[in-house]
Symmetry: D3
């Protein structure tokens, strides 16, 4: 899977070059960062990329543009050797209201095709495309920290369960909304949520009733690992956390992400074998020597100059 993604990046590298440069030049602004219309990308600190859902006037609802921009954005980040960690958050009053049904209705409600089989065939393609929008987060080898404030509804839950670390504010709430609009959630929630939190009873209850879950329950069930008083505090915390990750060896950090995901989907003996095969070369990095030396000299990892990856 990871292999596939990487080749995908490679084969179109020339096509990406222009926008790729654009990304590196981005600065935090009040609106979306071209060529994106729904995302704002900035670099708040060294080696940290901040991706902000940016349709605040629409409560960051996920429209057609969003679904493809996410893929482009994370494909670029995956290849950007300047970036070591990503923070995702939402602009405006809430994280996201989920799918923008008005904009997407054509795809979801009016499948194309001459008969049921052909409509199903096309529908399957569309679903697979939407699944990819969040799977790119997992395939990007850089860790992704997501910071949620206010509402995180429907597609928002699909998005955050594909991220690596989840933070939220006191006023945040989460809702697996799909059952309310007559469908089984099909872009990741049903697949990832049960592997993200430890109570199966709660997962089932959330998915079958679409009830809201507030920040305290999200913390106690393990959906988020930290709750902050407000958005400002959370963003500061997210950046500090991102800074900690960015300071460490990218060989260690990205190898850790790849192997944690591998472990989720394989047995322990298989995952140990994969790990040994992974590290047989990765341990030959200079980063081990540099890190060990820094440790002996009581230096912080932040003082160690690791090569790019």
């Amino acid at each position: 899977m990871a292999a596939l993604l990487r080749s995908m990046f490679m084969k179109n590298r020339s096509l990406w070059q222009p926008s790729f440069c654009a990304v590196r030049a981005m600065s935090t602004s009040g609106g979306p960062t071209p060529p994106f219309s729904t995302l704002s990308v900035s670099h708040p600190a060294s080696a940290v990329t901040h991706v902000e859902l940016h349709r605040p006037e629409k409560r960051n609802a996920m429209n057609r543009a969003f679904w493809s921009e996410m893929v482009d954005c994370f494909s670029q980040i995956a290849l950007d050797s300047e970036c070591r960690v990503v923070v995702v958050s939402g602009a405006g009053k809430i994280f996201t209201a989920g799918i923008d049904l008005m904009d997407m209705a054509g795809d979801v409600l009016q499948p194309q095709g001459d008969d049921v089989a052909r409509m199903s065939w096309n529908m399957r393609r569309v679903i697979a495309k939407y699944q990819e929008t969040f799977s790119v987060i997992e395939k990007c080898p850089k860790p992704v920290v997501v910071a949620v404030h206010g509402a995180c509804v429907g597609g928002g839950v699909d998005l955050i369960t594909a991220c690596d670390i989840r933070l939220c504010t006191q006023d945040a709430w989460f809702q697996v909304k799909e059952v309310d609009i007559g469908l089984a959630a099909d872009v990741g929630t049903l697949q990832r949520l049960p592997k993200v939190i430890g109570s199966r009873s709660l997962v089932n209850e959330l998915a079958l009733t679409a009830r809201k879950m507030y920040s305290d329950e999200a913390k106690s069930c393990g959906l988020v690992s930290r709750v902050f008083s407000d958005k400002e505090a959370m963003m500061a915390g997210a950046l500090e956390l991102a800074g900690e990750i960015a300071a460490r060896s990218p060989v260690a950090v990205q190898g850790t992400k790849i192997n944690l995901l591998y472990s989720r989907d394989h047995s322990v003996p298989e995952a140990l074998d994969y790990m040994a095969t992974w590290n047989m070369s990765m341990l030959q990095t200079q980063d081990v020597v540099k890190s060990a030396q820094a440790a002996m000299e009581k230096k912080s990892p932040k003082e160690v100059p690791f090569s790019k990856l």
Copy 2:
């Protein structure tokens, strides 16, 4: 697995017709509902089926009749298009004391056969039959909410871990009892409990020592998602929860259950592929349009008339 079950239902449909009609006509009563001797089946609300373990004088201990009646009961429910959600609870003072050793001893303690191999062969059949008693709960596509009060011992834990949502009263306690009678739990607890709660250390401790776990620990570890003050409050809560589920599109609800179970047993990429293949037709349901319209008109799902499934 699911496919197998369904075919099982279909092929004997004619045989079931009589008892099937009986089920639909059942009313809540003070005793078991014929043709069952250990279960009482009723319909406390529209589209909600209530299955009550009903041998209160024997602390709902699981005798020979129980093991086969559960299969018959849930096989009927799976096919009953009037039913959209199931509530399971226990009559009398406790949920269940577990296996009725006196009644079952013949099966467990006196295996049939001319030599060890043949006794083992027959024993394997018996175990598989007993495993099926709880697997039918999972194979039934309608969500099953279980409400536990008082003791839930041995086979009771096997039963509740096969249900979708677990509730309990303040005075409830749970005990993986099998190790105390010299055997490894073989009808589901060792297989499902680790996938139901998030602490492996706790799972092992419970299964290896047979110690009791009380409601507060059951809540904090995620075995149950809610604790109620007493049985009356719990049953009200269970019915309200069941009502919420029953009000939603059965296409959405039952597709959610089937895909959540699929996700438990497969990798994320495999589960996403299955989900897309599932929804390529299921999204063509009228329920999406009806639900979307209701949402826009600020109506509750309960006001939407979904077709039977």
Copy 3:
């Protein structure tokens, strides 16, 4: 896997005989138990084996000797029919400071071989050898309770996640340290930690930032199932817990461990099938009859004389 291990034990049985006898004769002492230089092995109670990490002056850092002694020690224990449960703890001020980088640097920092491929080949062998050091704990069919006080760093987390039940003191803390020395943890933590606790967000945070986790968070996330005020109380608690396990049928207890591990790595239907095939013979044990009889006579399992296994 289990099969492989067992054959490993068997084929060299004669080689082990001498040290094996030594183990049975061990008494609790102030230092390591010969032939071990880093472990102290004793028998604090009937059927209970206590393995103590014993390099207190070096904070129980894991040196070359440790990595192979653990394999020898647990291989013996696996075959020792007198032993029914194991307790692991650390001598001195802390549980363990993790890998002894000074002693191990040769293996990790100076891979052997004429080119990158050959160095990688040898590195893979070394990693696999180290992985085995903790996998033996899992392959040993007797349950292993680990009791942690003070620090549990790096390799210590790899070790405890391979144990069955985790306890700790109020002052204990845990640190997935590897990312700080430039590498992805490769001897078990990334493979087992996500299957041991219920919050994926927390697992990722710990592994990617190397931050310390204290006992209260370890308890609430399910890493440990109990926290004790101090080491003395914990050791008493660990021995009591071990006593509970040791009192029960070894056929039941060891079958439970083997099937719980099988369940972790397989789907529910596969695990049910394996369980039925396991118990088709194991239920024919005398222990079921003895236990059932004791239960009826209101005797404690501790009064039942089970045969050795």
Copy 4:
């Protein structure tokens, strides 16, 4: 899977009793054996059951009755301890013309349900039911030898790939017909054929073009293991082969079938582990001693009186 099946058999044992007795009393006749209308069941030799597709005037086309009678028939055989091996063949001029489209059209061409989702839901049930018709052959622990003469079309290929040993006459031909009627074969051929023969290119060609394959190619690609000059010779050969199998220990024979099927669907290490767990009890059979003794006394297995299984 196997476990599920067995429990299925067990739970309805009382229902089967009457027809079960009927089966044992069956004699070879010129027509179907009651209560079957499409199958003729007989006992041509000790411990050998012969199941004949018996609608010769309809070229043994598979009508509604056939699909459910096969399940009943093999469910009984699975429980019949007198039977140790099964031979399947077709009455009349050919083995089978496949599905009886006229009789089945209602199921396949007119799915029930109020919308696409509900029609799909019901269609899935129907397909699963039909899949079960051939899966019962695999779940029956007694080996099944199939003898094909003349045409074996469509559903016929689904049927024979679920059998254990395939024989045919010189004039036999095989056709994966489904693509010709606008559908992907969904009751077993696409799942089992690639695991039955060794040339993937041939499998694809047959399934994508619906071309006929004659007996010589069927032999060289390994679909059948023997070709006979005519039906009479083949039936004699099939019965001789069945006699060889029936003469051997049923513990050995049925354990072999179950483990060969397990191996098909699992990795080698997993299958070895399952095998060891299976044989830990099965090797304690008296059949090993009896067989070993017979071997030493140069007796044929046919002279050894094995207990029933």
Copy 5:
């Protein structure tokens, strides 16, 4: 996997539009078809696309351009609803001499990166990219027939094992060449060849010695399903075969390919479940009715006008 690919196609649809149109307009010519420099794409018959490796002066050696053009070409074909089947062959004297080492040496022999870990990281990306070149053939839902004449060396074997049906001429030979240049074949041969032919001993011999295999052995081991006297006869045969496939319902044909590939990588019960979920909608196609009607009217599938897919 399939889901991923499809989404890949979708998300860049606008980028492809120009070249896509180009493809439809292509005619058979003496050279590569723009925008390709190594492939010639034509439409020899209705619904049949012919992809010719076209660097005859270089023995169709696979240079940098080839590896990415294959991905573009098959991505377009996958989306081209006019195309129902693909034929692949080689221009000039042989099918292909395999990788063009001169052109590719930079990628393979000079990995980029500051240390071994970084060079390995980049090398993994490169390998994954090359693997994708042949995986696109599998992900394209239209069946791919490959016709081999003369030599098929190294990368050529990787290519043909990813195709669905393999044909060759009398003078064809095959060579798994990689071991001769010091590496384990890493773009598909070691993964697919064992699942393509039935003799493991032969697979190992070919891969470990790099010996040539000629057409007769290729036929008898099942690598190819037909051998033709010369290239002209083979191309005629390939087109006839392609015509047979193109004439049938694309819903049936492409569903067959997708499910045959699914079966290769899953157990039989899993593949049956997937198949039922697939066909629950696909059987609702008009193609079944059209095909059934044609069959009853004794018409050839070629006379049935199926809608595009």
Copy 6:
């Protein structure tokens, strides 16, 4: 699995040193090579190790000593960097008569233990130990060519299916004997034979009837890849084949074996991912450059001096 093995080798290295030296000093002789009593080990050519089953007077029947000597022998070979390929054959008139029932009867016929559970427990250990005897062949990364003359019975088939390449003489025959002595073959045949040859019908027939298969059928079904007129010709052929393998880069050859085995037990996408992770370091070997250069200079691989592995 591979990881486990390697660690096994490592941890006892000091114990092996003496016998290990012995192995390197071995010369071909008329009897077993100390410290072995059933095996003769020699070095007929550079980098080629010849292991001969050497109890000709007992038809190379597998006695207690054999089962453990095989493990020791292949464990040494796995670590012997002088060895690049292994040839296995049998001394005397036949390859092997299989298990030496007289010598082994104690293990198989008289299980130890106080009750059925304990006897089963010990039996499982014994089976697992015996399985390991042949699994070591697979875990040894050097390819193993086996050359069979005369009879290859029972355990012999278990042995050869764990080898990589199979050769035989015209007079060779093979027999899956276990069913004749009342048991399901449990040390590898049922697990590996179906993945070694392409006809499932034949596998089942052989395993269920214990009939002999002669060399011509063994060749046509793919069990062996070549048949020789007599033993002398076969041994010459085997050594030539071994020489071809030994001449090639050990990095390429051993990586090929490891990945071919991985592919057998995993899906294609998983195996491709593992392969990319394997080769990301292995391609950095000097062997690629040396081999490429030799190829350009038209030199044979035999002239290239590869470093040891």
